[in-house]
């Protein structure tokens, strides 16, 4: 397990280096810090002097090394719009996004697993056929359309739920949370349903098809021949094997979910990282864009590492290779 963890962490570091290189290249090519610092009235000679002083004329690799060093110290540059370190801006916005992604993941897990299992066991009944039909439609509807339809039905027509914003939040050690007020929870419902709607059909179909395959295996047949109860066969013997491929795909999809928050947050005016990113693009706030890229990249890597470790816990053969 230890060797397995070490290997995973090494891989994670390499991935982060590549992300930071891309991030830095963007900053290097697009952003001009001198423009951010001084106005148009400063002469070319003065600009050159400033460039030298800031190390902007150093070779690319040296500048990159400095960038990585700063990043390791928590300095991802300065947002010229917010007049604050970019990382501070992002950490202030992160809780909103993370809570949204968390609730969406819960919805995906608790809806797709039972439906996936049920439709695999009863592939021919009307509910399964209906689910499969609806899921095809679901896969093809873009998230912003789902969001708008949800807002129209539940906010505009029925007035059941609020249509935008996070509602009332409580600050817990610097984490702005919407989990602890009724208003905050109400505001979470529509955005998290909209966000989960992209992945839900995919997960249901994935679980269903994997489970149907597992149900045909010899070891499931043997489990029947042993006289086990059907629930033990379905929920333990078959489902545990179904989980392996689902976890692999799920880890990647969870990262994509973070990316999709950009659309969802924009439609719902959700004050998270995705919304911030879109605003930063409009303002050409390069430092903030790069910081976003690196933070989301890091999140992606952390999530995938956790998923791999969970995979190792479910699949005994992985642990063995880790032990060597």
């Amino acid at each position: 397990m230890f060797a397995f963890a070490v290997r995973r962490i090494t891989q994670a570091i390499v991935v982060m280096l590549v992300i930071s290189l891309i991030g830095f290249a963007i900053k290097h090519e697009i952003g001009d810090p001198v423009r951010d610092i001084v106005g148009v009235s400063v002469s070319v000679a003065e600009r050159e002097a400033l460039r030298d002083k800031l190390g902007l004329n150093d070779p690319f690799i040296m500048q990159y090394a400095r960038f990585v060093k700063d990043a390791l110290h928590g300095d991802l540059g300065h947002s010229f719009f917010f007049k604050k370190p970019a990382l501070d801006v992002i950490t202030a916005k992160a809780p909103a996004t993370l809570e949204l992604v968390f609730v969406s993941s819960l919805i995906i897990i608790f809806v797709s697993i039972p439906i996936g299992i049920y439709t695999a066991i009863n592939p021919k009944n009307w509910f399964s056929r209906l689910t499969m039909g609806v899921s095809i439609v679901g896969v093809s509807i873009p998230v912003f359309l789902t969001a708008i339809i949800l807002i129209y039905i539940f906010a505009v027509e029925l007035h059941w739920l609020p249509s935008y914003g996070r509602g009332q939040t409580i600050n817990i050690y610097g984490w702005e949370s919407g989990f602890f007020t009724l208003d905050g929870l109400k505001h979470l419902i529509l955005p998290s349903i909209a966000l989960s709607s992209i992945m839900l059909p995919l997960f249901i179909r994935l679980i269903r098809s994997e489970m149907m395959e597992v149900l045909e295996t010899e070891y499931v047949k043997f489990a029947w021949a042993k006289g086990l109860s059907k629930y033990r066969i379905w929920l333990l013997h078959a489902f545990k094997n179904t989980l392996l491929p689902v976890i692999t795909v799920g880890g990647v999809q969870l990262g994509i979910l973070i990316a999709f928050t950009i659309l969802t947050e924009t439609v719902f005016q959700w004050q998270g990282m995705g919304f911030m990113f879109l605003e930063a693009v409009e303002r050409s706030d390069t430092a903030l864009l790069v910081a976003y890229l690196i933070v989301v990249g890091a999140l992606f890597v952390v999530v995938n590492t956790i998923v791999d470790i969970i995979y190792g816990l479910v699949n005994p053969t992985v642990r063995i290779t880790g032990r060597k």
Partner: protein, 327 residues
């Protein structure tokens, strides 16, 4: 005396979209307490389907369309799912062909053994583990305490089949159905597993149905042989009688195809042609296209099983009689 298992007119049908296909055409045979019976034939003869039909576990869209399977006098084909569940793995166990595929890869051997016991007996986990250890010991698995906590991939194929045998024995069944239990193993391990099965069935007086295409194995282990061809029994009798004095041309062909009956260098005898698929079973005797002694009647009329001599052997062939072949 009541038979342990009495299969009567068993007919299995596969309901396909294109129509129904009958895979087993009214098969009759019995297994007594402690008796070891071989079910022999080529692939597709219906041996495995018959085996699975006994525990009512035929893969869909197959089902038992007629006949009965009396086990200690109770008709298994008419039991409810829950009643049948208590028979499977408890009174009748099954051993599958490929031990690499039979055990669940993500559960420990211990879990897979204990759950079987707990499915049939009111028993604590520790007591179940004790029984599991005892059975692993019986199938000669070294240091079973350690092995209980291991996963299937940590065992070799032969070891896994021993574990499957141990699982089959857990609740002391009165009948074991072994579906080609050694086909997937290499030859030296085959003999070990077969000896083990024989020894265990003898010591516990357990009935055995051995499904195989290997007449050599059948000769070593069983007391009775049922020869099947495209869903029918073509010959049945004591093992000695069938091996030494086969009467049906198909059984003869099978026996002549055993390599150790030949001299080195000599070509093996084979039965010409292949068994017909369920889709194109010929009229009359289904073996006639491959038969060397067929007569005109064979293409018209399905032969019935009949007793042809005093040994109790029964044969389904128009061309054999007590006096010899072909009238």
């Amino acid at each position: 005396m009541q038979h342990l298992l009495d299969v009567k007119d068993l007919e299995v049908t596969f309901a396909l979209r294109t129509g129904s296909l009958i895979a087993i055409h009214g098969v009759n045979f019995t297994v007594d307490k402690g008796e070891r019976v071989g079910l022999v034939g080529e692939s597709g003869a219906g041996k495995s389907v018959t085996g699975f039909a006994i525990i009512n576990l035929i893969s869909k869209p197959g089902y038992i369309s007629n006949g009965s399977v009396l086990f200690n006098g109770r008709d298994l084909a008419s039991l409810s799912d829950e009643e049948m569940r208590h028979i499977r793995g408890n009174r009748i166990s099954m051993i599958f062909q490929d031990p690499m595929m039979t055990l669940n890869p993500v559960l420990t051997i211990g879990t897979q053994m204990i759950e079987t016991l707990q499915a049939h007996l009111k028993i604590s986990k520790t007591d179940a583990a004790d029984i599991a250890l005892e059975k692993l010991h019986k199938v000669h698995i070294p240091s079973p305490e350690k092995r209980l906590r291991q996963y299937p991939h940590e065992f070799s194929g032969g070891m896994r089949q021993r574990i499957v045998v141990a699982i089959a024995l857990l609740v002391d069944p009165s009948l074991i159905i072994a579906d080609e239990p050694t086909t997937a193993l290499d030859v030296t391990i085959q003999a070990e597993i077969m000896d083990l099965l024989r020894e265990l069935c003898e010591s516990e007086d357990t009935g055995l149905i051995l499904i195989t295409h290997d007449l050599g194995v059948v000769a070593q282990i069983t007391e009775k042989v049922v020869v099947m061809y495209s869903g029918n029994i073509v010959e049945m009798g004591t093992t000695t009688e069938i091996i030494e004095n086969p009467r049906h041309p198909y059984t003869k062909g099978l026996i002549q195809a055993i390599p150790d009956k030949r001299n080195p260098g000599e070509r093996l005898n084979q039965i010409p042609g292949v068994m017909p698929t369920l889709m194109d079973i010929p009229p009359g005797c289904s073996f006639h296209p491959r038969c060397t002694i067929k007569g005109e009647i064979c293409t018209r009329e399905i032969p019935k099983l009949k007793e042809i001599d005093s040994t109790g052997k029964i044969v389904a062939c128009h061309m054999v009689s007590a006096e010899g072949e072909v009238q």
